[in-house]
Symmetry: C2
Subunit: 337 residues, 2 copies
DNA sequence: TTGTATGCGTTATCAC
DNA sequence: GTGATAACGCATACAA
């Protein structure tokens, strides 16, 4: 655990508390508390008077005190690999929207896709006593630390060993891609994958569908980056064998594939059709617009948040997992503009 | 203020507290507290013993109690229009990295570029007693509520009336764009803008530079969306007058411009050169790769965080603002591939 | 160097 | 309906 430079202890000027409101309204602090919680239990007149004084003082119940006595912080920890990645942004929106309705907030931390900083992030969040946590695309090979009855929700397929997961049916995605490419009459297909279980599953689905059609395919590998997509595509093209369709494991890598095809003067989709994966906002901005397998990131985030909320409420101590189905989003790279 | 359904009050099972550690280590809770704070003031042996017991119990000081007594939460509120926008993602990274070093965390909320939900988000964050706050691209026309001595940092140029700002010199960006287009020999320029002060400033810089060169320019308007870029570009092209360069107020809108030019069979940069703004990750993925005016989002986020930290520490009660200079990032859309 | 005692702002359990 | 008062987990002034 690294040394954390703690800020100089300049206690913040405290606002007016429940006591001052009580004094001004001529009631006890207990009554003030009730006004802000179980509003029904208090005399309307008293209630009114308290509310007025509170307003003039600018008083709001401090969550600090409230949290202490309730033993919960109304905070949910969230670890994502990278905030700049639009897909994760959508996920965060889903989480946020669900939490907002319950008066809870998102405490954010980034893992940069590294196990070490993921652990650091988790400890960071734990120190703030989050009530629950969601970790997206965890790289940490063990369970994240979770004191008390705190629970982590894993959004990724890699952690079959952990109980609470939200995942995408990547195999189904691969099948969708294959069917689309067959539908537009392609027979010489290729897959550009990347390391990791997700790509494996996508490829397996892709393969299954091709087998059924009695077709073989070629393959090349990248690392989800644009450049690696370009290289992989060039490798396939240089090989010389016929090629009229490419399924790529990620949209960013697909952007690289499009670039390689542009360079060779190949037309899309006439000469080569391309299907990407994720349907990140990027897909619709590429040239040509990229047909992609949509990962319902917002819904997955929302589901993760709801799962976490249920766990926090103690409603389901049971392990629970949700599997989402991807969808084909058809665009120019496999069809007419 | 909308009704917020508060979660059923299932107090979380509490972990072992400072008392239990103290008992097991045979010391007082004060000593345990000291071990976790001013480590020097305590006997090495005692310290060791306490640390051991704490470890076996899995004890960590609860931030709930600590925050209450210190009157600070070590939380910084952050309001962004939209987490899915990569530029804001970079900003968040900058903020996060600065805060992480001080043991503070980011409490996230989205404004969706609406004044109403921005206010809601602010109240949401305030309820969690954040020590400070950063609001990116605020749409709220008054100052955000700020009880006690809490401060908001505004990251945007619209709020000259508020004291603490981090902003970009948009005028300088416009000048950079004009100079680049003149450098590559263009004489028939156009600007595609959008509502708001940012676009105005960018245009003014652009204009200044053109005036100096004795050139006039044409203009069209959009709303930062891709589609509006396409429309604006088509409007300019339909006009019939000569056109060999377009400066666009945002990268997303520039993507739409590129699409319009593709449709007309115009080559870039040979027929028309294009410069975007922001240099979001998207810029380098477009076809052709887009020359853009870089907004140093990471650095701006970091600066905002540092400013906020200084305010929280009470080091500078003074108003402070930081202005960043944009940079030209030259790519295919204005030069050779 | 360590222990005792107080208070931080709130909710909750009793009485009344 | 309302008021005392005891927690909640911790940091710290003061005493030892």
């Amino acid at each position: 655990m690294p040394e954390v430079t703690h800020n100089p202890v300049t206690p913040l000027p405290r606002g007016s508390g429940i006591r001052e409101v009580a004094r001004l309204a001529g009631v006890s602090i207990a009554t003030v508390s009730r006004v802000f919680n179980d509003a029904e239990l208090v005399n309307p007149e008293t209630r009114q008077r308290v509310l007025e004084r509170a307003a003039t003082l600018g008083y709001e119940p401090s969550s600090l005190g409230r949290n202490l006595v309730r033993g919960r912080s109304d905070l949910l920890g969230l670890i994502v690999p990278n905030v700049s990645f639009p897909l994760y942004g959508e996920m965060i929106s889903g989480i946020e929207d669900v939490l907002g309705q319950r008066g809870m907030s998102v405490l954010l931390a980034s893992s940069h896709d590294e196990a070490a900083s993921e652990l650091l992030a988790a400890q960071h969040l734990l120190r703030h006593t989050v009530d629950g946590g969601i970790v997206v695309n965890s790289q940490f090979d063990a369970a994240l630390p979770a004191p008390r009855s705190m629970n982590w929700i894993y959004v990724s397929p890699e952690h079959v060993k952990f109980p609470n997961r939200v995942e995408l049916d990547n195999g189904a995605g691969g099948r969708l891609a294959a069917r689309e490419l067959l539908r537009v009459g392609r027979r010489h297909l290729a897959y550009i994958g990347a390391p990791g279980r997700e790509s494996q599953d996508r490829e397996r689905g892709f393969t299954d569908e091709l087998c059924q059609a009695g077709l073989s395919y070629r393959r090349a590998g990248g690392d989800y980056s644009e450049l690696s997509g370009t290289w992989a595509a060039e490798e396939l093209l240089d090989n010389g064998a016929a090629l009229d369709a490419i399924f790529v494991a990620g949209d960013l890598m697909a952007a690289g594939v499009l670039r390689a095809l542009h360079r060779r003067g190949l037309r899309m989709p006439e000469d080569v059709a391309v299907v990407g994966f994720d349907d990140s906002p990027l897909a619709a901005l590429l040239y040509p617009r990229l047909t992609s397998i949509r990962q319902p990131a917002y819904a997955m985030g929302a589901a993760a948040a709801e799962l976490s909320l249920r766990l926090i409420a103690g409603l389901s101590a049971e392990a629970e997992s949700v599997v989402f189905l991807p969808e084909l989003v058809r665009r120019e790279s496999t069809g007419p503009p």
